[in-house]
């Protein structure tokens, strides 16, 4: 296990009932790095991502085996409180999902629940909105409903919301799939900036996007990791035949 790796999996498998969705995956993710998870739909990318902060706990009939090591602890250990894990490993979902609250409250709510004073909350909200490159667009209407924002702005609000808690890892599941190209470009720029502070693991079905934003790319197929390499390496000289076939569009 590399010393720099902040979160890693060891022989991680996840099954829904009898169906194995993720099989024996051992990977390491480092801080200040963007990792892209690619692969055809249904290959287990989302399942793997949700396993990293125990979001699979809410699905029925899920069995997880193997380990996810975060700060040297297996987050599936019975002594671990999954809520505390999720506070340090944030998540951004495929479809922007702001709360039916004001723009300000969307970010402030969880921060406040962590016991911060209202002036600290305000400060954190501003820092997070600036960090998510949204501040300039919303600073004059923090009290209006988050639903008045465009899809891309909503997704950046969701990123701000996750950032405001000061996580170390941010998981993103196809964060741009519901967005138009301009909004997508903004999120991609944002990811490049967030890399300075966080470990980012992003699922994408868009290979060009993986190539543009990630330092490392992991190729999943049928729940297994086929190849995990530096992005420039995997796109130029893939080691595996399957990876080459996928990247050249021969299946998926």
């Amino acid at each position: 296990m590399g010393l720099k790796s902040i979160i890693s999996t060891s022989h991680l498998s996840v099954a829904y009932g009898d169906k194995v969705a993720v099989e024996d995956v051992s990977l390491e993710f480092e801080s200040r790095e963007v990792s892209a998870l690619i692969g055809p739909s249904g290959c287990g990318k989302s399942t793997f991502l949700r396993a990293l902060n125990r979001m699979n706990d809410f699905l029925d009939d899920v069995r997880t085996s193997g380990q996810v090591i975060f700060h040297g602890q297996n987050i599936y250990d019975s002594k671990i409180d999954p809520v505390l894990v999720r506070r340090r490993i944030g998540m951004v979902f495929q479809k922007p999902n702001p709360f039916p609250k004001s723009i300000y409250e969307n970010v402030a709510w969880a921060v406040r629940k962590f016991g911060f004073k209202e002036n600290e909350v305000r400060e954190r909200v501003e820092v997070a909105l600036k960090g998510a490159a949204l501040w300039a667009e919303v600073k004059d209407r923090l009290k209006s409903s988050a639903f008045e924002l465009s899809g891309g702005q909503q997704q950046r609000l969701c990123i701000a919301r996750a950032m405001a808690l000061g996580p170390e890892v941010i998981l993103m599941d196809e964060p741009c799939s519901a967005l138009d190209p301009i909004a997508t470009a903004k999120i991609e720029d944002l990811i490049a900036e967030l890399k300075e502070q966080f470990c980012i693991i992003v699922v994408t079905h868009n290979m060009q996007q993986a190539e543009r934003i990630s330092d490392r790319t992991v190729f999943f197929l049928n729940g297994k990791v086929i190849e995990s390499e530096a992005t420039s390496h995997i796109f130029n000289r893939p080691r595996e035949e399957l990876t080459k076939n996928y990247l050249t569009g021969r299946f998926g």
Partner: protein, 340 residues
């Protein structure tokens, strides 16, 4: 462009000129061409194969159905108003709405409606005070916390509760609830508002629980995911995200419950008795508007008398109260939606 104009002119000059050879156009090479349209009748007809007859009759039939409910409403209001005018030609409106004594069957008769209103309000508010918190907690438990196996049991129990005839509730109030209450509050009367409130409260718990649960259930899962993704605990998500998003359904459930409690007759008559009194003492016997109507309807009060007419006036007041409750509910729900 010129071509289109030419065609339009030809068509409009002829009125409907489908199949008319004068409707010609010129292609880009200047060669005239005749559009050959098949002979198709487009006129309205009753027996066309496309089912025009069915469509039309269905439309009239549906309209008649809708109209019948409008006519019924007008009919009821008309009858109420007719009997009311007779009543108010004897009793002054002022006396009716401000009088604190209701003795329609004594002589001299007293027609102050306030005792009946207070009785109705006591039952409605008292039973909601019991049913709303319990119904809400059941709804939250059912949708967020309940293990799947137990959910089926709980839902069937609620359905069963909703299916028990109201007369049974009244009987239970009299023979079970009141004796139990008497052990705690020895001063309680045999007929009392408290036991009526308790059984009516139990009666409306299923309504409040199921309508609220539907509302909570329809809060999209991705909002919960968002909360969990932020490391929030379930009670925090339920109280700050899910419940506010479902609040209009919750308000609607309260109103439904209130309406039922206001309109409840049998259980209240059995449990709370028939003593119209302007009081807010739950240990005493009272009379609600509905209970009074039952009392007079079942007696041998001849039609046309003032006592007989009084039940129509009370009925009208009941109608206004329920209507008012519904209007307030709509207003509240709209305000809440506006805020979000």
């Amino acid at each position: 462009m010129g071509l289109t104009k030419l065609n339009l002119k030809a068509a409009s000059a002829e009125g409907s000129s489908i199949g008319d050879p004068s409707l010609t156009s010129v292609d880009s090479h200047g060669v005239a061409a005749v559009h050959a349209y098949p002979q198709v009748s487009l006129a309205r007809s009753w027996n066309s194969p496309s089912g025009n007859f069915v469509e039309q009759s269905l439309q009239y039939f549906l309209f008649a159905c809708a109209l019948s409910s409008v006519l019924t409403t007008f009919g009821i209001v008309f009858i109420l108003l007719k009997e009311m005018s007779g009543f108010f030609s004897v009793v002054s409106v002022w006396e009716f709405f401000t009088g604190t004594q209701w003795f329609p069957l004594l002589s001299p008769a007293r027609f102050g409606v306030l005792p009946l209103v207070s009785g109705t309000l006591m039952i409605a508010l008292g039973s909601c005070l019991i049913a709303v918190p319990i119904g809400l907690l059941i709804a939250i438990f059912l949708s967020e916390y309940c293990p799947r196996g137990f959910r089926v049991i709980l839902k069937s129990a609620l359905e069963l509760l909703a299916g028990i005839p109201t007369v049974v509730y009244g009987y239970l109030a009299l023979t079970f609830v009141t004796p139990q209450l008497a052990k705690i509050f020895p001063q309680i009367e045999v007929f009392n508002a408290l036991s009526a409130c308790i059984v009516v409260g139990i009666m409306i718990i299923p309504t409040i629980a199921s309508v609220t649960e539907d509302a909570i259930h329809s809060v999209p899962g991705y909002l919960r995911d968002a909360g969990y993704g932020l490391g929030m605990r379930r009670y925090q998500i339920v109280s700050s995200i899910v419940f506010p998003a479902a609040i209009s359904g919750f308000v609607a459930s309260i109103i439904l419950g209130l309406s039922r409690a206001i309109g409840e007759t049998m259980a209240v008559t059995l449990a709370a008795g028939a003593s119209p009194k302007l009081t807010f003492n739950f240990f005493e016997s009272i009379q609600t508007m509905t209970a009074f109507i039952v009392q007079v309807s079942q007696g041998d009060t001849p039609a046309g008398t003032i006592e007989y007419q009084s039940i129509f006036v009370v009925g009208f007041c009941l109608f206004i109260m329920t209507l008012g409750t519904n209007l307030i509910a709509q207003f509240v729900v709209r305000r809440i939606h506006h805020r979000i």
